[in-house]
């Protein structure tokens, strides 16, 4: 297929622009903004339209707006080509809603639109049929533009990718590896059951949790069902207990009636007692408390007075006897008195003598004994004499010394004499002292001798009295004298005693008379009381008095009985109690003391109450347990919903995962088929092209197991990694690959090749090589070389290659 002519009615910057091409090499020349790429797009759009391809919905492509005409309404144009030997023109309107495509066979002039397949989505004939490739292949294969990557490294990568993909997919631009990577990434994003961080893993965990939760909820449901069953049972028990309670009520009613009957019996008994007591209380009593007390007092006083009287009589008799005895003693004394009168004078003399003797004796005892005094006198006499002679001797000596001094003139003798004189002074004092002492002692001695004579005289006088009164000693004699002196005193004392005794006897007589009178008075009172009480004696009176006590006791008992009766009645009246008793009787209930029975009943009542409490507690505890366990879990339906939703999620994820796996496997399978027959051919052709472009320097291209691309350097014989080649060589390599794709993948269609500013970076040598190659290719295939410079033209001219120049202008 070859493009012969095109016309852009309105397309981007172009309006009514017509361009013509030749079957071989065409150089489309224009500056940077001349619209080379717009022209390129126009050609593509003429075949593929301006909408997205391969879709079931018709959607405008991004280019629709990008190339919307700057001027003019007629968004579209026509393209004439030579295909299959016939000149064919496609006329196309891009504008939405008035889109139209017609295909005309210029040779016959007939509209052959109908013969093209109809695209139901675009609602237009499918003109891509003419090319036999889709727009994508068109863009990536027959159209080769400048390298998109700038750096050598990235370039090398891009080329490798292209070689590998072409080898594996035989579809340019479709990346086998990318596709597998994408699928694998998407699978990883879903994850597996055991990968806990992936959605699938999380869903699994959630599912397990929910399953557990459901199990727990089912468990609680069963437990609660059991609890409700227990409640049901407890409620039955409660009903039974209530039946018991009602039965007890009836029993209690009967028991009460029996008790009332018994009470009434008791009440009647008490009434009897009261009646009996009433007679005791109303009995007559002849004495009262006060009179009886008075009687008792009189009785006591009477017995006291009698005792006193007896004692008084006794005392009177003793007093009489005493008077008689005293009178007799007095007579005796009076006769003794006369005898005692004589001795009184002797006693006076005697007493004087005794006194004088005692005086003398006393004095004598005070003086020194005679011998002692005599000796003292002699001692003093001798001492006095000794001192006297010493003194005289010393005085004489002193006189001698003075004389010596005077005669001899020895003055020292004065001194000696003075000393002598001084010694002589004490001797003189001693002489005088003892002389005085001797004279005093002599005087004392003379006095002692005189007293001894007096003593003898008194002693003789006393002895004379002893003899006269025949007294053995002085003591006896003194007694005799004392007796004589006391006689009178004794007589007057006895006279006193006698008078007192007589007086006492008289007073006793009076007292006994008075007591006797008192006794008679009391007896009279007592007799009157006895008479009043019609009693003969005290015993009878006492018996009468005892009746008061008995009556008081009866009153007290009556009072107590009344209280018992009141207590028995309680809140009831006697009539009511009687009514109850009658009721009991009519029902055949025997009166009974129900204390014990009552106890049994209240025990039973408590038992019933406790049972009710126990059951109610059990029920409320069960209800509590139900409530609290219900709070612990969600409703089963809720959990079931969650489970189903998680399961759904899991199913969706697994379905997607399976789809991705399935797709991966399919891709690997088909790429293996492609690789086996086409890859070798492709490799060979790339190698051939590269060798031509590099003048035989690099001859072979290898794709390693790890997709690493290496080339053989013919100069060194080494294998060189693509990335290590120079930038220019990488460019050539890229071109070789692209060109090989264009040549090989669509070989039969011989579509035009579009080269868009591909060689800008080539040095002259390289450009030369490539233009030579293009010259050759152009013989069988139309080439549209878009360029902005003249170098290509010049080189082609020099090579002698013919070409058609299409000038786009500025």
């Amino acid at each position: 297929m070859k493009i012969m002519k095109l016309r852009m009615n309105s397309f981007g910057k172009f309006t009514d622009k017509t361009l013509e091409f030749t079957p071989g090499l065409n150089i489309v020349s224009g500056g940077n903004e001349a619209g080379k790429s717009t022209l390129h797009k126009f050609i593509g759009a003429m075949f593929f339209g301006m909408y997205k391809q391969g879709k079931k919905n018709k959607l405008s492509s991004e280019d629709y707006l990008k190339y919307f005409p700057w001027y003019g309404e007629n968004y579209g144009g026509s393209l004439m080509m030579e295909a299959g030997g016939d000149p064919i023109t496609i006329v196309r309107n891009f504008r939405k809603n008035s889109e139209k495509v017609s295909i005309i066979n210029e040779a016959s002039g007939e509209d052959i639109t109908e013969s093209f397949p109809y695209d139901p989505v675009a609602k237009l004939p499918d003109t891509s049929e003419i090319l036999g490739i889709n727009r994508y292949v068109f863009e990536n294969t027959v159209s080769i533009s400048q390298m998109s990557s700038a750096t050598g490294q990235a370039l090398a990568g891009e080329i490798s990718e292209m070689i590998v993909n072409t080898s594996l997919t035989f579809t340019p631009g479709v990346s086998y590896r990318n596709a597998l990577n994408t699928l694998s990434e998407r699978r990883e994003k879903i994850g597996t059951k055991t990968q806990s961080k992936t959605p699938r893993g999380k869903a699994e965990i959630r599912l397990n949790q929910l399953t557990e939760e459901l199990k727990a909820a089912e468990q609680i449901k069963a437990e609660n069902a059991e609890r409700y069953a227990q409640i049901k049972k407890a409620q039955t028990e409660l009903v039974k207990n209530d039946v018991r309670r009602r039965a007890l009520g009836k029993k209690r009613e009967m028991s009460l009636l029996a008790q009332y009957a018994a009470k009434y019996e008791k009440f009647k008994e008490l009434t009897g007692t009261l009646n009996a007591l009433q007679s005791e209380i109303s009995a007559e009593i002849k004495i009262n408390e006060q009179e009886y007390r008075r009687y008792l007092t009189c009785e006591n006083m009477l017995s006291d007075a009698r005792e006193e009287y007896d004692k008084l009589i006794m005392d009177r008799r003793i007093a009489g006897e005493q008077v008689a005895s005293l009178a007799e003693k007095l007579e005796q004394l009076k006769s003794d008195k006369a005898n005692g009168e004589n001795s009184r004078a002797d006693a006076a003399v005697f007493e004087n003598a005794v006194a004088k003797l005692a005086e003398v004796k006393e004095q004598r005892r005070n003086d020194q004994q005679r011998g002692v005094l005599e000796e003292q006198y002699n001692k003093s006499e001798r001492a006095s004499r000794a001192f006297m002679f010493s003194f005289i001797g010393l005085i004489l000596a002193a006189a001698v010394f003075v004389a010596i001094a005077l005669i001899g003139g020895d003055k020292n003798f004065y001194t000696y004499s003075l000393i002598e004189a001084l010694i002589g002074l004490p001797c003189a004092a001693g002489w005088i002292y003892f002389l005085t002492k001797a004279q005093n002692t002599r005087r004392l001695f003379d006095a002692v001798v005189k007293k001894s004579a007096l003593e003898v005289a008194y002693r003789e006088q006393i002895d004379a009295f002893l003899e006269k009164y025949e007294a053995a000693d002085l003591r006896e004699l003194n007694e005799i004298f004392d007796r004589a002196a006391g006689m009178e005193e004794r007589i007057s004392e006895l006279n006193g005693q006698l008078a007192a005794a007589v007086q006492k006897e008289k007073s006793l007589m009076e007292s006994s008379e008075s007591v006797k009178a008192k006794t008679e008075h009391n007896s009279a009172i007592m007799a009157s009381i006895l008479r009043g009480a019609s009693c003969g004696n005290s015993a009878e009176l006492r018996a009468e008095y005892e009746k008061i006590r008995a009556r008081d006791m009866a009153v007290a008992k009556h009072e107590a009985t009344l209280q018992s009766a009141a207590a028995l009645l309680g809140d009831m009246s006697e009539q009511q109690l009687q009514e109850k008793a009658r009721q009991a009787q009519s029902m055949g209930i025997k009166p009974l003391e129900f204390d014990d029975y009552e106890k049994t009943l209240s025990e039973e009542e408590r038992d019933i109450y406790e049972e009710a409490t126990r059951i109610n507690n059990q029920i409320s505890s069960l209800n509590g347990a139900i409530e609290s366990s219900s709070m612990k879990v969600r409703e089963i339906s809720e959990i079931a919903e969650d489970i189903s939703s998680v399961k759904e999620t899991i199913a969706a994820l697994e379905e997607k995962y399976a789809a991705l796996s399935d797709a991966s496997e399919s891709i690997m399978r088909v790429s293996a088929d492609i690789k086996s027959d086409a890859a070798a051919k492709f490799n060979e052709y790339v190698s051939e092209l590269l060798s031509g472009l590099t003048s035989g320097r690099y001859s072979r291209v290898f794709v390693g197991e790890d997709m690493e691309i290496t080339v053989r350097d013919e100069q060194s014989g080494n294998m060189v990694a693509l990335s290590e080649l120079s930038g220019g060589t990488i460019d050539q390599c890229y071109f070789a690959v692209r060109f090989a794709v264009a040549q090989l993948i669509i070989p039969d269609k011989a579509l035009p090749i579009f080269l868009d500013d591909c060689f800008v970076q080539y040095d002259e040598g390289r450009l030369f090589n490539i233009l030579a190659l293009l010259g050759k290719v152009a013989q069988s295939r139309q080439i549209l070389l878009f360029t902005c410079r003249r170098t290509e033209q010049q080189l082609l001219d020099s090579l002698g290659v013919t070409y058609n120049l299409v000038n786009l202008g500025r």
């Binding site: 079931k56 891509s128 479709v174 596709a179 609660n224 139900i626 219900s630």
Partner: protein, 361 residues
């Protein structure tokens, strides 16, 4: 005598199958309980309440929940309540009806045909409770009725000659001579014959259950020796409705366009429970899950079903790529129409075909 007939209340049911959002499901369960309360209130003014089975979803009920229902029934102590259990609350070993104390005014029929005579209204109520989840034939014969009395049958089952859910032969039922037959099991309320009614589910229980839902109020009178006279009316329960919609999003390029076409079909966005199936081909950039997220904010309840396919023109793709990997890949799935294969095909294409780049398809 006046009666209320309800059935298939399915209280405490889980809406797992309907895929209702948990909060909505929860709220709806409350609504269902409220509806039951409504029925109880109505029954409080009637002589008897007939519950023809599936009162609760026994497997998903909690003990406390059933207790609550019993308390409600117990609250209308002057109304006699009769329950014939159905296949969802059949009297299994561990049925909670057996554990709990029944309110005094509730009679649950045993698993054999039984009757209770109520003298004050001269009415005999017949019933039968399921004790297993499946019955083929009707497990009893209809008894001969005393025509002096009003005879009512309360039963859960399928009026049909051949059903795994207790076939009640229609001719035999009609011939049995009941003055009223209160049926349960079929969720759509309906009249089988004169005085033979399905009350239907008291509330709609799924998106499939469109149409009215509620309970029947009936009045029966019978003079001695005469045949009974009857009057029936149907009362709707006040619960949100289920709405099942379909939206074909083919050719719709934005969320707004899709939203508009959906919202136009919904009367009460604040109350209706909506399930929508998105169909057709979804354009590039249309992601149904995120679309649903957006929609959920504007609706009380939304259950999304994505039945769309990615927008690939497989025929064209294959035609254009016959000899390369894309064509070969598509060929792998030729004739495999199952869901999994389709999904794998789209997943593969999605990975193989570059998107968004200049010159992409």
């Amino acid at each position: 005598m006046k009666f209320i007939h309800t059935a298939d209340n399915h209280l405490f049911k889980s809406f797992a199958a309907s895929k209702l959002p948990p909060s909505v499901a929860q709220a709806y369960r409350k609504d269902m309980l409220s509806a039951f309360r409504e029925i109880i209130a109505a029954a409080g003014k009637a002589d008897i309440l007939l519950i023809s089975g599936d009162l609760t979803e026994m497997a998903e009920s909690s003990a406390a929940g059933v207790k609550r229902v019993f308390d409600l029934i117990g609250s209308i102590s002057d109304t006699a309540v009769f329950l014939s259990c159905g296949n969802h609350d059949y009297l299994s070993e561990n049925n909670l009806y057996k554990s709990l104390s029944l309110p005094p005014n509730l009679c649950i029929f045993p698993p054999k045909l039984s009757s209770v005579y109520m003298e004050d209204i001269n009415t005999r109520i017949w019933g039968f409770s399921w004790e297993k989840s499946r019955y083929g034939k009707l497990p009893f014969d209809f008894a001969k009725l005393n025509t002096e009395e009003i005879n009512i049958l309360c039963l859960h089952g399928d009026v049909s000659d051949n059903s795994p859910y207790m076939s009640i032969p229609p001719e035999a039922l009609k011939a049995a001579g009941f003055d009223y037959v209160a049926l349960g099991h079929v969720h759509k309320p309906g009249k089988i014959a004169e005085s033979i009614y399905y009350a239907g589910s008291a509330c709609a229980l799924d998106f499939s259950e469109t149409g009215p839902h509620g309970y029947i109020t009936g009045v029966l009178t019978k003079q001695k020796g005469e045949s009974g006279k009857a009057g029936y009316s149907f009362t709707n329960t006040d619960v949100p409705s289920f709405l099942s919609l379909e939206v074909d999003i083919s050719g719709l390029e934005s969320y707004d366009e899709i939203k508009q076409s959906l919202m136009g079909q919904i009367k009460n966005p604040d109350r209706d429970m909506v399930r929508v199936s998105f169909k057709g081909f979804r354009g590039e950039g249309i992601d149904i899950p995120s679309l649903c997220e957006e929609l959920e904010e504007e609706l009380y309840c939304l259950v999304c079903k994505d039945e769309t396919s990615p927008d690939y023109n497989l025929e064209q793709l294959y035609r254009e790529n016959k000899e390369n990997i894309i064509g070969l890949f598509i060929k792998q799935y030729e004739g495999r129409e199952d869901r999994a294969s389709k999904a794998a095909l789209y997943a593969g294409l999605d990975a193989l075909l570059p998107r968004g780049k200049e010159g992409a398809l």
